[in-house]
Symmetry: C2
DNA sequence: GTTATACACTTATATAGGGAAGTTTGAAAG
DNA sequence: CTTTCAAACTTCCCTATATAAGTGTATAAC
């Protein structure tokens, strides 16, 4: 439909395919990423200016901006106003680990079950009271669960919930399926936000027995603290899983070709 | 400067400040995030359509799109074409941990030093040869380092490098400061990408001694494998740090107001 | 009653253009 | 030679508009 303007400079790189299902901005982002993967653009190098990219690939400025924004969001380039856009060097500190990669272990698939070991009401000791921001001695629900995955114990979960009949969170949490909702989220969630931390620990005697581990053994401990929409703590607990059964990997630099 | 158009519908929420340094798209993203934090928008709720947001806040469609894209990238909303944009429930699986939060421990600041324990050329055994994709028995550089942070040993680092005089990476790596570049990145980096994984382990006798730890003690192990621009492995190694000195935390849900 | 179509709604993609802000460069003035 | 300043270049931000594509609903035809 549109005339193809005659470019004096031949494009040694790929060009935008207007008939492709992939949007132009995504194609351009891919081309630039490929240039980096091929070594045409090395860390520290300056990318062609936006105006140059507009002319070279025959797209509008907004499309170029969007492509560059994507790369900037992904952290592979950095744009400095007035200077230019540059390729970022790979750095270990840029590594990000997603808890979601352990999703299947937490019972998202078939073959995973939740075994309720214990659920009772106990008074909050000093430690629990501080975490849940309640008075010492107030009632909490203490839950112990074991998550099984393909016939093997995957995680041992302990959790304290504030016991408040006016809050409907209690019922929802007591369902055995609630654990998956905790991990994967559900629309009816009454949780607003939470803090999660990873720790490396040693299994104690009880944990070793439940997880069928030999002592001493290292383990990951995922501690979580969730809040409701009034920013009051609701749930404090931790998942413990054997380190030799967990693999936590990520990539830095160029993700894919 | 611009006339303020008379809106029939009063804005109960905040409005865009055109004189602010903060861009309009960022302000709008903040307003929407605040609405979720205040509970006006609950998980599962549908956001106002883009056209409505355009009218309500007096910005262009592109600005609205960008604001929504930011929220979508952050994972707090999800946009479905033809249906609408919806608030995502909080999920543990959405948690992401950034290695960069340990940056100061890795020697980015003053008061951190790198102690070279050993650096010699050894023949690759079967395990090293497989990781570095070289023949068994080929020469590698084996480095052992101890990272000190404010007078205390923070990490014990061991690393194998391919010994190839044709590759300039060797010299650069042998500098004691190279470690920080490995972590934070530098423009002269010859590394294209890498894989990093976290493991939880027990300190062995040597590690305990160097890290001044009592046995048995749990530790984090950050294993890294870096490749050059020809996709050949260059460096394989791992950092080991005491778990009781490391804190690895993140947030899910609404990050900040 | 069932099916098919049309329409209204949504988000997604793209174009064209303009101005603001920071950086670099080099020429002019001292 | 040094300083000053203006211009060019860069990225950044925003507006206005148009088209495409997916979804759901109401209506018309059968």
């Amino acid at each position: 439909m549109a005339h193809r303007p005659q470019n004096k400079v031949l494009q040694e790189t790929a060009s935008i395919d207007r008939d492709s299902f992939e949007p132009a901005y995504a194609q351009l982002a891919g081309i630039l990423r490929q240039s980096m993967a091929d070594g045409l653009l090395r860390p520290g190098d300056q990318l062609p200016s936006e105006a140059q990219l507009v002319e070279r690939y025959g797209v509008s400025p907004m499309t170029v901006r969007r492509a560059i924004n994507i790369l900037a969001d992904q952290g592979v380039v950095v744009a400095e106003q007035g200077r230019g856009t540059f390729v970022k060097p790979v750095a270990m500190s840029a590594a990000t680990f997603q808890l979601g990669q352990l999703e299947n272990l937490f019972g998202n698939r078939e073959g995973t079950t939740v075994q309720l070991l214990e659920a009772r009401i106990i008074a909050a000791d000093e430690r629990v009271a501080r975490k849940l921001a309640i008075r010492e001695g107030k009632r909490t629900i203490y839950i112990r669960r074991l998550l099984w995955n393909s016939g093997e114990p995957a995680f041992y979960h302990r959790e304290y919930l504030v016991y408040d009949p006016t809050r409907p969170i209690v019922e929802a949490e007591l369902e055995v399926t609630a654990l998956q909702q905790l991990f994967s989220g559900s629309s009816e969630s009454l949780l607003k936000h939470g803090e999660i931390s990873i720790d490396a620990t040693l299994l104690d005697e009880e944990e070793s027995r439940l997880l069928k581990a030999t002592q001493p053994m290292a383990a990951f401990c995922f501690e979580h603290l969730f809040y409701d929409f009034d920013d009051r703590p609701v749930s404090w607990g931790w998942f413990i899983g054997r380190a030799d059964r967990l693999r936590f990997t990520t990539q830095v630099g160029l993700l894919l070709g």
